[in-house]
Structures are given as structure tokens and as C-alpha cells.
Amino acid sequence: MVTKIDVFVAISIAIFVLSLAYITSLGGLGPLPPVDVRDIAYQYLNLTYNPWRRFLTSFALESVTAIIWDFRGLDTLYETAVFYGAIIASIALYRGVKITHSRGGTGLSPIAKTVTRLSFVLIPTVAASVALHGHLTPGGGFQAGSIATVVIVLAIIVFSRYFLPGHGLSKERALLLRSIGLLGVGLTSIGLLLISFLLGVNAYIFQNQAKLDAPLSYPSLVDDYTLGGSLLFFNLSEFIAVAFGFMIVFLLLSVSEEDVREVVTRD
């Protein structure tokens, strides 16, 4: 049912949006960014895969992943830390709440379950491909993790919240797997540094390829297949950390209100 007010509001919003876009395109809301490639962007694009400047390149074919995990790797480490903190906070909010798998939650109809079973294979395959090809094609650890979370949400909604814990993926195990993923991120970032202590040579944190004064580097090419050095390990670890981090949040969110209230009022 469309009233006159609806039409009036819709037209006025459209005029507002179009005029705002026009003002922005004229530079009315601050200076416009330059159209041509800026110097730093040129450097990033030039150095993403550049065998002729091998002390500066990251030997990956995808510049976004190279920037995220190599050139600006420390920023991404802190972002991962923020995500870690958010998940820890949600676990702390739900402390004491148990996800038992004794009560009978049966989920949706057999039709919905059958269709969802297909996606149990397809979606993780896409996610794994996005993670493993993160250094070659668009994508990466976070993207793959959030794609994989879709299948976890589907499992919780279609098969009830007792399905995943009943099949061995309890909240505690998800926390363990997530910690393993984070450990992978941490170890990859200091991996070359640890090896350099043993060999007695110079190395840096977040070093991917060899630098002028640091000779160690992650494998960048295995039998004609570009590995991108540390980027593959970073993407894999981030994939595991993000997917199981989101899984903990959704398992906690799906706990029924009565169970939570029971725990909260008990204190």
C-alpha cells in the first residue's frame, strides 16, 4: 500500500542523494582524490611481483594480499588482535552458559536439511579455494573465513544449535582451533626471526622475502607454482582463526534466552 507520503519521501530522498552526489563530484565536500595512480600505489603495484627487485618484492600475484600481509602486515596483525579481543569479550559475556546437546532440537524440515547438506560440501570448498588462492586471485584469509561461517550459520539454523556440538565441534574445540589459527599468524610473522637466531643471521619481524641485509626468505616458488612466501601461511591461519571465531559467536548467540537468564540471575 503506497501512500502519497511514501511517494513524496521517496522523491525527496532521491533528489537529496543525487544533489549530494553532484556536490561531491564537484569537490564541494573536500578535495577529490587524484584520478591517476599515486606514487605509493605505483610502488605497491610495481613491487608485488618483481623478480628484478627481489629485495623489495613479495613474490605474490595479488597486490591486495601483498599489501595486507606483507607491506602493511603489522596493521593486519593488530586488526586480527582486535577481532580476537571482540570474540574474547563475547565469550566473557556468556560465561557459565552451557550448550548442552541433550535437549531435543530437531531443526527445520527434511527438505531444508537435504538442500543444506549439499552446501556443507560446496561452501567450504569455495572458502578453501579463496583462502589457498589468496595470493593469486582476489580473496584471502578473512574473506574465506567469513564465507565458511555462512555454512556454520546454516548448520545452526537448519539443523538446530545442538548439531555442531553433537558432531564434535563444541564451543571449546572451536576456541582451540581458533587459537591454533592465531598461533599460526603469530608464528608466521616471527618464523624467519626464530630461524635467524639459530643460524646467527639478521632478520626482521614480518619478513617475507630476503632483504639486502637479511638473507632468509619464505619459499616463493615450488615447482612453477607461486606460493607468495608467508602470504599462503598467513591466509590459511587467518582462515581458521576467523571461521572458528565467528562460529563461537554464533553458537553463543543461538543459546536460548531461558538458559542465559538462568545463568545471569544466578550470580
Binding site: 511514501d6 552526489a21 584471502g140 578473512f142 567469513s146 564465507i147 550459520v153 548467540l253
Partner: protein
């Protein structure tokens, strides 16, 4: 040829942007919160298309699962804990 491409890109962007505005308006007007979540997901998928036209496939790959899959799921869990219909 380049001018034609540019006009086509801008026309696509305008189409997606205006559709997203309509979806946002409908999401705010809707009293049924579950339908409002669906309108919000339509708005987000328009944003994902805009990112795709702007040649940012990395963002598209994270935007689609988060905005169409995860945020509606969180909102549906929250709606389940309150009421489905917004009162006057």
C-alpha cells in the same frame, strides 16, 4: 569507446545506488522486522555490486557473506529474542 564505457559504469553505479536508497527507505518503514532485515540485505547486496563495478573484488568477497549472510543472521537471532513486529 572509453567514453561509452565510462557512461555505462556511471549509469550502473547510479542504478545500484538509487536501488540501495529505496531498499534502505523500505527497511526503515517496514514494521515487520524480519522483512526489514531482508530489505537491509538487498541494500547491502547493491553496495556489493557497487564495489564490484569499482573494481574491488576483495571487498566484494568479504562483503557478500558478511552483509547477506552473517549480519542478517545476527539480526534474526536478536529479533527472535524480542518481538517480530514493531509497535506504534
Amino acid at each position: 569507446m572509453i567514453v561509452v564505457l565510462e557512461v555505462f559504469t556511471l549509469a550502473l553505479l547510479t542504478l545500484f545506488a538509487l536501488t540501495s536508497v529505496v531498499a534502505a527507505y523500505l527497511a526503515i518503514r517496514e514494521r515487520d522486522l524480519v522483512r526489514a532485515v531482508v530489505f537491509s540485505a538487498i541494500q547491502s547486496s547493491m553496495y556489493a555490486l557497487i564495489y564490484y563495478v569499482l573494481m574491488a573484488p576483495d571487498i566484494v568477497l568479504v562483503y557478500i557473506p558478511v552483509s547477506v549472510g552473517l549480519i542478517p543472521a545476527v539480526l534474526l537471532f536478536v529479533i527472535k529474542k524480542t518481538e517480530r513486529y514493531e509497535g506504534e
